[in-house]
């Protein structure tokens, strides 16, 4: 197991470095001159040149990339071009909010999707399955902003139970945050629901066809015991991989959802930064998102290896 963990960590580092290179290259192609953006329209050519020299903008690109990556690793993320404030604390603050929302979603969404998937799988092609499968199929395709707006219409405009705007204050307590978290979390749950439940369903159906299930049934075990002791344990393995993959979906989904609900997370910060072509801010947010995604994948790999010894012996 130890070598497996170390190898996976190595992979993770490699992926993050390669992706950081992609992010760096893409953002380097951004139109506009950073020096001019920072110093303003009236700055003279001498001042611009001095700024470029001082900030290493004249260095060859590989040197700039190396410095940028080192700065990122050491937490020196510089200042935002549009708000002039230090980037690190802002991004960390937004990251906390996004993780809170993602955590809430996983906490509710994952068990719910797995339960629905199991119900559908055990009742293959019966009414319960068809209802769940068609429901998942229709919900999966709806863009998050449509789902979000529908939920806002129902729960805040018609019923008036929950706020439509989730712009939580930085110093709000959890009890104050909770009502504002429910609608965004519900919307994000829809994103997960379809994928995880369909995967669980497929896993259950496949396991039910295995010979050991027939053996267990024929030797007289009650169906309940067959399902809980044998089928579910094995059929959850594919579902866990999907949870990892769906974390990527969740990040994409949260970018949109945070914008629907005005939720102060990384996704909204990213769209804000892109609107203003705020280069260092875009880079920082993208890197943080990529690192969290990679970490989530690592976690899923480890859980998977723990559940399925064959993987780590490969």
């Amino acid at each position: 197991m130890a070598t497996f963990v170390i190898r996976r960590m190595g992979f993770l580092a490699l992926t993050v470095i390669l992706t950081s290179l992609v992010i760096f290259i893409i953002t380097q192609m951004l139109p506009g001159d950073v020096a001019r953006v920072v110093l303003g329209r009236e700055a003279g050519e001498a001042a611009l040149e001095a700024f470029r020299e001082e900030n290493g903008l004249n260095d060859p690109l590989p040197v700039q990339y190396g410095r940028w990556l080192m700065d990122f690793v050491t937490g020196d993320w510089g200042h935002s071009l549009s708000t002039r404030s230090a980037i690190f604390p802002v991004v960390m603050d937004r990251l906390r909010n996004s993780l809170l929302l993602a955590g809430m979603t996983m906490l509710v969404g994952v068990p719910l999707s797995i339960i629905l998937g199991i119900i559908a799988g055990l009742n293959e092609d019966k009414l319960a399955d068809n209802t769940i499968s068609i429901g998942a199929l229709t919900v999966v395709g709806l863009p998050e902003f449509v789902t979000g707006l529908v939920l806002i219409q129902i729960f805040s405009r018609w019923l008036g139970w929950l706020p439509a705007n989730s712009s939580i204050a930085p110093d709000a307590t959890f009890a104050e945050k909770l009502p504002m978290l429910i609608l965004p979390a519900m919307t994000a749950t829809m994103v997960l629901l379809a994928y995880i439940s369909r995967m669980t369903r497929a896993g259950v159906i496949e396991e039910l066809k295995r010979p050991y299930v027939r053996t267990a049934t024929l030797k007289g075990l009650p169906r309940r015991a067959v399902i809980f002791n044998h089928v579910l344990r094995n059929s959850l393995i594919p579902a866990i991989t999907v949870i990892a993959i769906s974390f990527g979906w969740l990040i994409s989904g949260l970018i949109v959802i945070e914008n629907v609900f005005n939720y102060p997370g990384l996704g909204r910060l990213l769209v804000f930064a892109i609107d203003r072509q705020d280069l260092p801010l875009i880079q920082a947010v993208a890197m943080v998102a990529v690192v969290s995604f990679a970490l989530a994948n690592l976690a899923a790999d480890l859980i998977y290896a723990r559940l399925n010894p064959r993987i780590r012996l490969e």
């Binding site: 992926t15 992010i23 192609m29 395709g141 709806l142 449509v146 769209v271 892109i274 609107d275 990679a294």
Partner: protein, 296 residues
């Protein structure tokens, strides 16, 4: 047999009618209506495609025509879906929006599928270093959630219709290429490929005539899936305001523009949102049918 494979494939000029090809198309068409759900999906998509083509003929008003006297009206006989805050007819804009989203998503998907197929075929067939480098490069692109990559690229390219198209191609090509490559790897050591190569066929022949047919079913499923995601992406980028720009009748953008007025003019938000929902559900049901059929 492998020696004859070329013979049986050569009479392929568009004039010589090949009966098996027709029946295959008829079969595919039949399949798109095989189950109730798939038939519903296909019907929805076909209706929207027709609307996309004939929108200029059937729309009662121009796409950006502002009727000041009728601004902010609820749905009525004159304006079926009401008018928005600028006095534009929502019904006409939703009709025009069908072509906006379907053509953009369709072109993006088609281009990504073509590029992805070419790269996947070459990379999988070449193997070795070329394959390794391509795949590591794609891995690093795919290590980013799709929307994040799309937003980064849009930040660089600036928001416009062309940028959205380029973004779709860049985001989906690696995904298609990987799928194609995996099929190529599984068939390239088969006898018929080997035979064609030993027979001295050109690399184009081996790739497109020997290997590509094995890839087609998987590719069709992938293309259908990509198309549904592409619609999703175009709408979402429009909604975020970083994709297609005003005054385009992009449904996502229309929802975005209608949001500040949702209290007084809910219809300006509701109809484009419903159009997105219906078309996405239609494409998904259809894609699901294609998938079930070809992967059975």
């Amino acid at each position: 047999m492998p020696v004859q494979s070329k013979m049986s494939l050569t009479p392929d000029s568009p004039l010589s009618v090949n009966p098996s090809r027709i029946s295959r198309w008829a079969g595919a068409f039949h399949a798109l209506f095989s189950t109730k759900a798939t038939a519903l999906g296909t019907t929805i998509v076909l209706i929207f495609v027709v609307v996309a083509f004939i929108a200029p003929l059937i729309a009662p008003y121009g796409v950006n025509e502002q009727i000041y006297s009728d601004a902010r009206q609820a749905p009525s006989a004159d304006h079926w879906f009401g008018t928005d805050h600028l006095g534009r007819d929502v019904f006409s804009r939703v009709l025009y929006g069908a072509s906006d989203i379907l053509f953009l998503a369709g072109l993006g998907t088609a281009m990504a599928v073509m590029c992805g197929t070419a790269v996947g075929l070459l990379s999988g067939y070449a193997g070795g270093m070329v394959d390794e480098i391509m795949m590591r490069f794609f891995d690093s692109l795919l290590a980013m959630p799709a929307l994040l990559l799309a937003l980064l690229l849009l930040g660089t390219l600036g928001p416009s219709r062309n940028s959205v198209f380029i973004v779709m191609v860049i985001v989906y090509t690696p995904i298609v290429a990987r799928v194609v490559r995996s099929v190529v790897l599984s068939v390239r050591s088969k006898g018929f490929v080997e035979a064609a190569r030993l027979q001295g066929e050109s690399i184009e022949w081996v790739l497109f005539r020997e290997i590509l047919p094995s890839v087609t079913p998987t590719l069709a499923v992938e293309a259908a899936l990509r198309f549904s995601y592409a619609i999703f992406l175009v709408a979402s980028l429009g909604f975020l305001g970083v994709g297609v720009q005003p005054p385009s009748p992009n449904w996502g953008l229309m929802v975005n523009e209608a949001r500040p007025h949702v209290g007084q003019l809910p219809w300006a938000l509701f109809f484009p949102a419903a159009a997105i929902a219906i078309v996405v559900i239609g494409v998904n049901l259809m894609a699901d049918g294609v998938k079930r059929l070809l992967q059975a």
